[in-house]
């Protein structure tokens, strides 16, 4: 019976098999293999030498590794916070605009489809220490030059600016879809109750956008932890990935440098696992902060309140 059902479904199994076969070879096997590699010292060519947990022990005591985590976190905060706030402002303005909507959407989205390499080259020239547009501007208004691409903070600000510029429009479009999904009745009810626009925003818009905010927060976190290209291309120097003092070196840059420049495959694999742990950890934190039980209650309370008001209004309308 069961055999018969499986035989009948053979075409369906064949249809889904390409993904699973490719995943087995290029996904599952490498993941398992990377555990094995991380227990070895290996240059990728010579014999593998078993070192047990030595790579991980070295990892947690490696100041460079902790520096790259710090760099990644700072760049992530410097980019994600302004990015999501600006996206919310733009989405709100887009939601209220009735004209030029298609133009706005496309103009805001173009940065996201443009290659990071090209974008980084342009921003590299804007932030350039000596000939940069930004410094020319600062000089013209009487302020001094800033050595953006030498100072630790300047480097991080430059990288965060690139990330923000590329992703604000994307997140604004997502927020806009969320805003459009909120029923007009709820706003109507708030208006009748005499809620100010600030109250409406914080008490209705934000709670009801919660699932969308969670989506953007999770994707920005995962993306933020994987920043690489910006810090690799910004300094135009293959031997100096993170810039002066490695101030722009991210976790993935360090993985790349360890494995593919220094040929320390075992250590590279161990950094990969550390990255995986961080991503899982931060996804859980996001989930708890934005999607957690407390907020669930707040939102459902807000929704119940709104529904009650709509009902009341309908009743008053009926009486009239």
């Amino acid at each position: 019976m069961a055999v018969n059902r499986i035989r009948q479904a053979l075409p369906q199994y064949a249809a889904i098999s390409p993904f699973f076969i490719l995943f087995a070879i290029f996904g599952a096997f490498p993941v398992l293999f990377s555990i094995w590699i991380s227990f070895h010292s290996w240059d990728g060519i010579g014999p593998m030498q078993w070192v047990g947990l030595e790579q991980y022990h070295y990892l947690v005591t490696d100041p460079k590794f902790w520096q790259t985590i710090g760099n990644t976190m700072i760049i992530w905060v410097l980019s994600t916070v302004p990015m999501l706030l600006l996206a919310l402002v733009i989405a709100n303005a887009l939601h209220n605009a009735t004209r030029f909507r298609t133009f706005y959407r496309i103009a805001y989205f173009v940065p996201n489809v443009t290659s990071v390499v090209a974008v980084t080259l342009v921003f590299g020239s804007i932030f350039s220490n000596n000939f940069g547009l930004l410094n020319a501007f600062l000089q013209s208004i009487g302020l001094g030059k800033v050595e953006w691409l030498t100072q630790p903070w300047g480097i991080k600000i430059a990288i965060a600016t690139i990330v923000t510029w590329r992703w604000v429009g994307y997140n604004a479009i997502i927020f806009l879809a969320g805003l459009q999904a909120i029923s007009a009745d709820v706003y109507e009810a708030a208006k009748v109750d005499g809620a100010s626009s600030r109250q409406t925003f914080w008490r209705i818009t934000v709670p009801m956008l919660r699932p969308v905010i969670l989506f953007t927060a999770v994707t920005s976190t995962i993306g933020g932890l994987q920043i690489f290209t910006e810090s690799r291309v910004l300094f135009g120097d293959t031997s100096n990935i993170g810039g002066p003092g490695d101030a722009g070196m991210t976790i993935v840059s360090y993985l790349y440098q360890s494995a593919f420049i220094k040929n320390q495959f075992g250590y590279g694999a161990a950094i990969g696992w550390a990255l995986f742990v961080l991503i899982v950890l931060f996804s859980i934190i996001n989930w708890r902060l934005i999607g957690g039980n407390d907020d669930e209650r707040v939102t459902s309370r807000a929704r119940r309140r709104a529904e009650r008001r709509i009902k009341q209004q309908k009743e008053t309308a009926d009486v009239r």
């Binding site: 479904a9 590699i37 733009i90 009735t98 030029f100 706005y104 990071v116 879809a177 993935v252 990969g272």
Partner: protein, 275 residues
């Protein structure tokens, strides 16, 4: 003027400022690509489009095999896109419209693969491809990405709502097998969903940097992004030439995007809402 009107105008002013910030780097890229490097380095810098664009583009072509890289990138991006569209829509069609033993478990497994960051398996993937002898070959760019979980998930959501069960039953009555049902019933209905996934895949492969940087080790066979980075690494002080290269690498892609931009953006937003 009414409060409403002032609010509308303020909204447009805010949006226009945003658009200016969003588009300025493109303008600046054109300014740099069309002026000479000394002009860009002057203070105050030249802020208007110059007349040296073709000269700068010519210098790019003299220094790197730009069209070779572009062709290589185009072949890789088109191949991956065609394979992804076929494999993902076929799998999505089976997942969305047919009952078979283990379907939910297999789909759950597919979703679980989302959790794995690409960088986790960077080292072993490289080692595996080296064993296959694929390093430096187009196969390394095309085959590992020929089917993906995101596309199957995406197309399944789309197929569930878009394909009526009656059409499949009718095709079965006519004696059509599974693959025939996919071709005659599934594909025509899935076309708008495929348009999104196609543009999305093409853009991603075209712009990918880390993976081709690692696997395309032959300096004569670099993808456009890696070649552009190399141009910058070697001739970094010649801003106008590097920017001409950047401009040339960006134009085809923006062209592809603008063709389908309107529905692409709408589909992307709708997809995010389903998560």
């Amino acid at each position: 003027m009414s409060v409403e009107r002032i609010r509308t105008i303020t909204g447009h002013v805010v949006l226009m400022l945003g658009v200016a910030v969003s588009l300025f780097p493109f303008y600046w890229m054109v300014v740099m690509a069309s002026n000479t490097t000394p002009d860009i380095f002057a203070y105050p810098p030249k802020l208007v489009i110059g007349s040296h664009l073709f000269e700068n583009m010519g210098k790019v072509l003299d220094n790197v095999d730009f069209f070779g890289s572009m062709l290589l990138t185009l072949v890789a991006a088109l191949s991956v896109t065609v394979l992804v569209l076929f494999f993902d829509s076929l799998a999505a069609f089976a997942f969305a419209k047919y009952e078979f033993p283990g379907r939910n478990v297999l789909f759950g497994l597919l979703l679980a693969t989302f959790m794995i960051p690409a960088q986790l398996s960077l080292v072993p993937q490289f080692v595996t491809l080296a064993q296959f002898g694929w390093i430096g070959s187009l196969k390394a760019l095309i085959i590992p990405g020929a089917a993906n979980a995101f596309g199957i998930f995406w197309m399944r959501q789309y197929a569930k709502g878009a394909i009526p069960d009656e059409l499949i039953s009718a095709a079965k009555v006519d004696g059509a097998g599974f693959f025939r049902q996919y071709l005659t019933v599934g594909l025509p209905v899935l076309r708008p969903g495929l348009a999104f996934l196609g543009i999305f895949t093409f853009i991603n492969v075209w712009n990918d940097y880390l993976w081709p940087l690692i696997v395309m080790t032959d300096p004569n066979r670099l993808t456009l992004q890696v070649a552009l980075d190399q141009l910058n690494g070697i001739y970094g002080t010649d801003y106008s030439m590097v920017m001409a290269g950047a401009l040339m690498s960006v134009i085809p892609l923006i062209g592809v995007f603008l063709i389908g931009a309107r529905s692409f953006i709408a589909d992307l937003a709708a997809g995010a809402m389903k998560f």
